[in-house]
Symmetry: C2
Subunit: 406 residues, 2 copies
């Protein structure tokens, strides 16, 4: 079988994802679609609206053959680390191609940009450092540095979120000499951050806004979601009592920051450049997550970066562990859901794989499992005690298998 890789969050799985899936299948001529999906916390530093098990299940119901988890230590990171984790997993799973959505839509633009970047990496790094020293945010500094080495002019726009991610995927493929062919599909209609649903191919952000604001699947949201996802959303809320978002975690986060010393906060991944003082100073006045974020925010930090920092405070991930773990080889790949076809593909490649596939989390296996477990408990901490216990048990259960032949 010929496998194609996708790097996704499915938060939630919507028509745009379905469109991307079908396009990728055709463009790469693949008969097995493998998605590396962020777990309960996402790259933009947010808790996912429903847990990873429910999102993975809908993904295979919609046509993905295998869903594996991107570990927390890679998922809640800047684009380069996120890409490094996701691309290595796809490489280990033997995919022939990786197909990503981008604002550009032209893979040659990415390839040319990479060649240019490769030759001028040193200049880029120097320029980036200089820009950061002015106190501006990383994405803005990075954009300036790309511009300084001649990128963005007539090439891909590296200030667009999906172009940034795509470029990180390419860097990861080429720098590791993976035999994966990168391909890209133009993201259509709505932009990444659009907050209002405009049509049947809406962005995940706009759908989430709609769901959270009305606390139900509105008619407008229904137009953007496949029926299985609507069922999945309703079922999850009925079971857990809520769709997760940051405001649910405000109490715990505020409690944490106010019962930690500055020195303890500084040990948490993402708490850099004196943010520990800013956090303590603003915490006691905050009465909601949103108001707190607005108090912490300055032009130096993007909203996304601060959200990621809060996710690491919540999960209690230390700088020390993140650095050592992301430098090691992945100890395992966690399977979340698959179709029978996906299962056949895994059986086919199993023997030649260097990294074992696991089907359930076992404590004490590896420090990465311990962090996965912390992330999962932190995520479910806002659910009632009895449901929390049941939801956590999914971590220990075998993955969901959709039998298409029967």
């Amino acid at each position: 079988m010929n496998a194609c890789g996708l790097i996704v969050e499915y938060n939630p799985f919507h028509n745009g994802h379905y469109y991307h899936l079908e396009q990728s299948k055709q463009a790469t001529n693949s008969d097995c679609m493998i998605a590396v999906m962020s777990g309960n916390f996402l790259q933009r530093g947010e808790p996912a609206i429903t847990d990873k098990f429910h999102r993975a299940r809908v993904a295979v119901q919609q046509g993905v053959d295998i869903v594996v988890e991107l570990p927390f230590i890679y998922a809640v990171q800047n684009s380069d680390l996120f890409a490094r984790g996701a691309v290595s997993i796809l490489a280990a799973l033997g995919v022939k191609s990786l197909c990503f959505g981008s604002e550009s839509g032209q893979i040659n633009d990415f390839i040319n940009a990479y060649k240019l970047f490769q030759n001028k990496q040193e200049r880029y790094k120097l320029e980036l450092k200089k820009q950061l020293s002015y106190g501006i945010s990383f994405p803005e500094a990075s954009r300036q540095a790309y511009q300084a080495i001649g990128l963005t002019q007539g090439s891909i726009d590296l200030s667009q979120p999906n172009n940034i991610l795509g470029f990180s995927y390419l860097k990861s493929i080429y720098q590791n000499n993976f035999s994966i062919r990168p391909m890209t599909i133009k993201r259509t209609k709505n932009n990444y951050h659009d907050k209002e649903i405009k049509n049947e191919i809406a962005s995940a952000t706009s759908i989430r806004k709609e769901l959270v604001a009305y606390n139900k699947v509105t008619t407008l949201a229904k137009e953007a979601l496949p029926s299985k996802m609507i069922e999945g959303l309703d079922e999850y809320k009925q079971y857990s009592g809520l769709w997760h978002h940051w405001e649910h975690y405000f109490n715990i986060l505020q409690y944490r920051v106010l019962t930690m010393t500055e020195a303890e906060l500084r040990q948490v991944h993402g708490v850099d450049e004196g943010l520990e003082y800013r956090l303590k100073r603003t915490a006691s006045k905050a009465t909601s997550f949103d108001s707190w974020m607005n108090d912490v925010k300055t032009k130096r930090y993007t909203w996304t970066r601060l959200q990621r920092m809060f996710a690491h405070i919540l999960v209690n991930t230390k700088k020390e562990s993140i650095v050592s773990l992301t430098e090691e080889k992945l100890p395992y790949i966690r399977l979340l859901a698959m179709t029978d076809k996906g299962q056949a593909y895994l059986n086919q490649i199993k023997k030649s794989m260097e990294i074992p596939i696991i089907t359930g989390l076992k404590n004490g296996r590896h420090q990465i499992s311990a962090i996965e477990s912390q992330a999962s408990y932190a995520y479910y901490s806002v659910v009632s005690p009895i449901q929390r216990r049941k939801l956590y048990k999914q971590e220990l259960n075998p993955p969901y298998i959709l039998n298409k032949r029967s």
Copy 2:
């Protein structure tokens, strides 16, 4: 003025406390009654039913002249450390006597017991170590060790909770050569742990049980409480939405334990002898504080000791800080409430005092203030965000002053 010291929790202030206060005043012939009161967390390792400010206010309304706070690092400790903190504060405030309630009621029995203990301290320590090695709880091991040196036979019963505390007060007075005269009043009628209110002089435990079970001041509870305390309880609940007890903190505690590594748990004061593994193992199954406690409990640990451990996990107090801070001299005494007479007394002794009196918590003053602040935030973490902010502000405000003359 002639001052007498009391060591109390007032959780809540009830008729028994009033009786003890009046008896102490008469017995010691004092015209200024000074109470050292535990803050928001108590010696038995529980959150107080209402915050320290509300309890201190009622205490002065009922006849106490000065209420000062026993810092968290001394309050949530075994009887010896609890006594060391409380007695040094009373000594610094120049009290002539200390009057405590006990099951014995005979001060000479305590004094004789201390003399015997002083001569056989080494034997006591050896015996205690031996008994503890059998895996029994500290109070039981201590009772056996006292028996081995000849205490408890015809003397005070050192397995009774108030006798144990009283004996710790005496040790602290004599070992530090404080010129404080110890006195004791027999605790009448109800025993310390009785859980059912029996009459107008009921125990704090039985009153709390009653209040929490019915979530209101029942007719039975009313009989045991002065009217000012009833008002205080009602007012606090109206303002904060609740009377604090451990079940309110279950979510946060479980979240904490499940997002900490064993090594991190081991750094917390009270997490000893492999309790970190027991905590982690039992945490994921727990659905309430009570069920969790029952799962952690063995004959080696008393309920009280485990509750204290949970309080330190909640407040995030590390072994390291506790050890260094309790070895240092107290940096300040925190005033919570006073009458005009109390104020006059403080003005009289101020110049000769070695430790400054502070009237509000200021951040960054001392590591003890940082821990007080953590304890306070942890305590209010179960209140709604806006009320929490208002309640915490009391930490920064001047103390309540009751002007009796006007």
